[in-house]
């Protein structure tokens, strides 16, 4: 697993040579439409975790089948100095010219540091962190509006909950997670405004024992529909199912794990995002720094409904989904208060999904029991 330690001199030699050949070869290569490319994909956990990493690995598996693309992968890379070594190793040893460091914590300082040292390599980070003017142009971020999926999860949860208490097991209070919690709650409260969401933060992306404990504690409190934002939803789904509760999935389709409990889910579909970034790299176009998309662009998709979801709930959710695809639906629209009573979106204002303000969300809305 460990890459050989690179030394500065050797590295200057190799990248210098690579840079020179790039400049020399720029003319003839520029005329070619699709040049061969080596792509590095880095995962924070195992590739088959039924979750975040699996969603990326599924898209990567499709890339491998495409002609002219060579893929190098490394899994279980922590969000520390280790990822810098991995990135540099992929660049120096495997000749990767486009990297997908997929975990949130890889961005700053790790990816930014390596990107500064390798101006000819393109970096696409999964998450919403890239800011124009602040970060180098050979880096960028791509992400999907999966809160649309979580809103639909919430609508179904709102129809299915008898106790009017629903639960959210979350890893860390970062904007993307908060946006999902809020969207899930808004979806459920669109069905019944009395519903509350209790959120538990476990503190890290993969804490199997703590996730199980969080699910049990919520079930003890009468929560009867669960969803989550952790890297591997398997534990929450199995634990909720064992307690006889319903669950909405996240990241990938987990219905096989608990067919009797799985209502629906918010799934990623990374292929289209990754392909647009790869095409730009292969044709020499500028690096797409800001790639976003939701249901409409096919970046995300809902899981098929479980057999226990009644017709009325399906119709309601499908109608909202159709509006989302037609760009006629705003999840975050005023007047919206946070759970301390402060107005966060004033009356009359509505944010489109593309609104950059939503990517720095730092509040939990009314109806969420929890604190950042």
């Amino acid at each position: 697993m460990e890459h050989k330690q690179w030394n500065r001199r050797q590295w200057i030699q190799t990248t210098g040579a690579a840079g020179a050949s790039l400049v020399a070869g720029a003319w003839p290569l520029g005329a070619q439409a699709q040049s061969p490319i080596t792509i590095g994909v880095i995962y924070v956990g195992p590739r088959d975790d039924y979750g975040y990493n699996q969603a990326h690995a599924e898209a990567t598996a499709k890339l491998k089948k495409m002609p002219g693309i060579k893929v190098v992968e490394e899994e279980n890379v922590p969000e520390t100095q280790a990822v810098q070594k991995t990135m540099q190793g992929m660049i120096s040893q495997d000749g990767a010219t486009l990297l997908f460091p997929t975990s949130f914590g890889y961005f700053d300082p790790h990816m930014i540091a390596i990107a500064g040292k390798n101006p000819n390599v393109r970096f696409s980070h999964c998450g919403g962190l890239w800011t124009a003017g602040k970060h180098p142009t050979n880096t960028g971020s791509y992400f999907g509006y999966i809160d649309e999926g979580q809103y639909l999860n919430g609508v179904i949860a709102g129809h299915m909950s008898k106790s009017k208490k629903i639960g959210f097991v979350a890893a860390k209070p970062i904007p993307q997670v908060l946006r999902n919690i809020n969207a899930f709650t808004l979806g459920a409260r669109s069905v019944d405004p009395k519903i509350t969401t209790t959120v538990i933060f476990t503190g890290d992306w993969s804490m199997p024992v703590k996730e199980a404990e969080a699910t049990n504690s919520l079930a003890d409190q009468g929560v009867d529909v669960f969803t989550m934002h952790v890297d591997g939803p398997k534990v929450v789904i199995e634990t909720a199912a064992k307690r006889g509760k319903f669950v909405c999935g996240y990241h990938a389709n987990q219905s096989k794990l608990a067919p009797a409990a799985y209502l629906t889910g918010a799934e990623w579909n990374w292929s289209s995002a990754m392909n647009s970034i790869i095409d730009a790299a292969r044709t020499g176009k500028p690096h797409p720094n800001f790639v976003r998309g939701g249901l409409k662009a096919g970046f995300i998709k809902p899981s098929p409904y479980g057999s226990m979801v009644p017709e009325a709930a399906r119709k309601n959710a499908d109608a909202i989904k159709a509006k989302m695809v037609a760009d006629q639906f705003d999840i975050f629209a005023g007047e919206l208060k946070d759970n301390t009573g402060k107005v966060v979106i004033p009356r009359g204002q509505a944010f489109k999904q593309t609104a950059i303000e939503l990517e720095s969300m730092n509040y939990l809305i009314e109806g969420v029991i929890g604190k950042i």
Partner: protein
Amino acid sequence: MNDIVLPVLWAVLGGAIRVGTPFLFVSLGECLTEQSGRINLGLEGVLVLSSMAAFGGAYLSGSAWAGVALAMVAGALLAGVHGVLCGLRRVNDIAMGIAVMMLGTGLAFYLGKPLIQPQAPTLQPIVLGGASSSAQLQAALSINPLFPIGVVIALALAWLLANTRWGLIVRMVGDSSDAARAQGISVNRVRTSTTMAGGAIAGLGGASLTLFYPGSWNELLSSGQGLIAIALVIFARWRPLACLWASLLFGGAGALGPALQSVGINSAYYLFNAVPYALTLLILILACTPHRRLQGAPSELSVQR
């Protein structure tokens, strides 16, 4: 007030057993090993490998108890590597333990790749709270079937070490290998067998992780629980029964964070989540007095020399 105190109390009590059971087995295994004068840091690796083996065994055979048996065998074998190699001359058991820990986790990750996705049969809980009307109480009293086994092992170890010839030999080897040799006892043989037995006991902790709670195999499943359990042995002053209480205390501490958040007490949850680790630190600080030997520590332990 009752809305908050009682649920948290039940969650912590239930959590003490749910979360504490792996700690119990690993600390009992380490306790036995250290009583014979050897440290096995490799038990973290044993925990990871045996949890993978338990899941694999249950998945392939269709029986959770077959998984439990396989976990014990895997644990004993990996600990056996440590036991045999530490018997060689000039092998440091701390360094060896770290090597065994890495070997165990590496092997488990490698062999466990195809086991992340599937589901295996899990152990059925012993339901004690069936008569209670409270769902919380019922959940807290759905007990891990391995937990009573752990209690029996703790009691048995305590009695055997204190009252039998076997226990006397183990303690003598742990306190003075010279005395043991003078008695004609093979120090290496005793230590290797206690290390292996300790590995088998720790293997039960692995089985508890993958076959009961949380109940599936994942590479981040242990996240250092084995190491915490080893530190618990020092806290428990090498007494098996104290290992039981210490494990329950740590399990309860681990359950405190989520339980408080679920009832709406959510300020400073980072602090509550850190309670088990803060406890470990505190114990280590309290345990290291420069002036005297730790009470109850076998004098052959290399930390003591």
